[in-house]
Amino acid sequence: MSLSADSGQAIVLTLQLAAITTLILLLLATPIAWWLARTSSRWRGVIIALITLPLVLPPTVLGFYILLSLGPDGWIGNLTQSLGIGLLSFSFTGLVIGSVIFSLPFAVYPILYAFEMLGRRPLEVAATLRANPLDAFFSVALPLAKPGLLTAAVLTFAHTVGEFGVVLMIGGDIPGETRVVATQLFGYVEAMEYEAAHRLAALMVAFSFVMLIALTRLRKRAGAALP
């Protein structure tokens, strides 16, 4: 089973996109989840709703609005232009921004869930042992929430690999820059090149399957069953 050069390029690009998105989202979602798990602010509900929104909108519609935001009239476009970066639509960086928005709920929810399961007790104990809050967070809360972080990482990675509608709208299908596996696959199917499509689809399914199995194993080892 051999893949075309186009498919190979798309696979490399997809893995890069998924890895970068996962890294950014872990750094972004952990403090958000921590705050959400402990706050009693009246904004909590609003913030949770905002984070969940990407789940509600159809991806092409979400992509359409991200495209508008990245454009010369949009707020992201305004910002990047005033910073001298120019417009980010049809670029790899633009895809990363889109993916981070698109996968945000998949990163926040598992971590939030893990922090909530933790309760206040371990941190209170840490405080009595004179750990300052930052210490307690890094040496108590974070290790205990490891299964949640792991789940968030795998879900974000897998979700980004499977991302399609958003990429289609903001990518412009440029080989080596924004043409990922999902859009390459779509192109094959639409052009009725079923042979190439089957190969790429089979690989994608096998990959996802292995990833999800690995998740179950990792979580078992981390001492938790799948929710």
């Binding site: 009239d73 417009l87 049809f90 299908d173 779509f186």
Partner: protein, 251 residues
């Protein structure tokens, strides 16, 4: 009480629905023809008493659905090859295929004065992005690359070209300002022969193959009077006037 209300509703529905002599046809329509189709259907229904139920989609998707037994009686495709293929595979009647609209390609920008009336802006190459529809998937995309080749600019502009999955996406790239200009369908930017917004160059028809959109009677519609009536209606002067008003030409 509830039962009485339901009975009343059923009665009203029975009395107000179209008489049983009128038929019904499911029509598969290429998405780029959505707006004119709405006008055509309301005229057709008023004139004939038949009902036409429109399903929109990409031509390739509609063809796949037809092959898998979708209940469509008529297909209005965005190209001429899909109807021919369906006919040669026995899903449609070859003798009924004809061109119902010819698309015109336009180089368009949402900014006034950006595109000159000769398309020289392409040669200056001082823009960031040129949007086109995917040339492998969309007839307007193929026409756009043929035009660029005819102008000798295909290779020179390759790094600036972004592709939308279909002509609607190419239009959105330009309308949102993410691409300064792009090749779009005349029907997207002009109505009654007037440009709605921005600036445009109507690409001379000799720079690309004609963008023929063909209609065909499908196997499932061959004994449906409503399907046959719709096909006949599309040939009428009234229908052709509507199609022209929306920025298409006719053979």
């Amino acid at each position: 009480m509830a039962l009485v209300r339901i009975a009343a509703l059923v009665l009203v529905a029975a009395l107000t629905s179209t008489p049983s002599v009128a038929g019904e046809v499911h029509v598969a329509v290429a998405a780029n023809f959505a707006a004119p189709m709405r006008s055509l259907v309301s005229e057709f229904e008023r004139e004939s008493g038949h009902r036409a139920l429109v399903s929109l989609g990409a031509t390739g998707q509609l063809a796949a659905q037809i092959r898998q037994g979708a209940p469509f009686g008529v297909l209005l495709a965005a190209d001429a090859t899909t109807p021919s293929k369906l006919a040669s595979d026995g899903y449609a009647l070859a003798a009924t295929q004809r061109t119902y609209a010819v698309g015109r390609l336009v180089l368009w920008s949402r900014d006034a004065h950006y595109v000159d009336t000769q398309g020289d802006v392409l040669r200056r190459r001082d823009f960031r992005r040129l949007a086109i529809a995917n040339p492998k998937l969309a007839p307007y995309g193929a026409a756009a690359t043929q035009t660029l080749s005819a102008l000798g600019l295909r290779e020179k502009l390759r790094s600036k070209t972004v592709e939308g999955a279909n002509i609607n996406q190419a239009f959105q790239f330009v309308a949102s300002g993410n691409a300064e200009l792009g090749f779009v369908a005349m029907s997207q930017v002009m109505q009654e022969g007037r440009l709605q917004r921005g600036s445009a160059w109507i690409v001379p028809a000799n720079l690309h193959e004609p963008i023929r959109q063909d209609v065909i009677l499908l196997a499932k519609g061959q004994e449906n009077p409503a399907a046959i009536a719709l096909l006949r209606y599309l040939d009428s002067r009234a229908a052709r006037d509507i199609i022209r008003r929306y920025g298409y030409e006719l053979p």
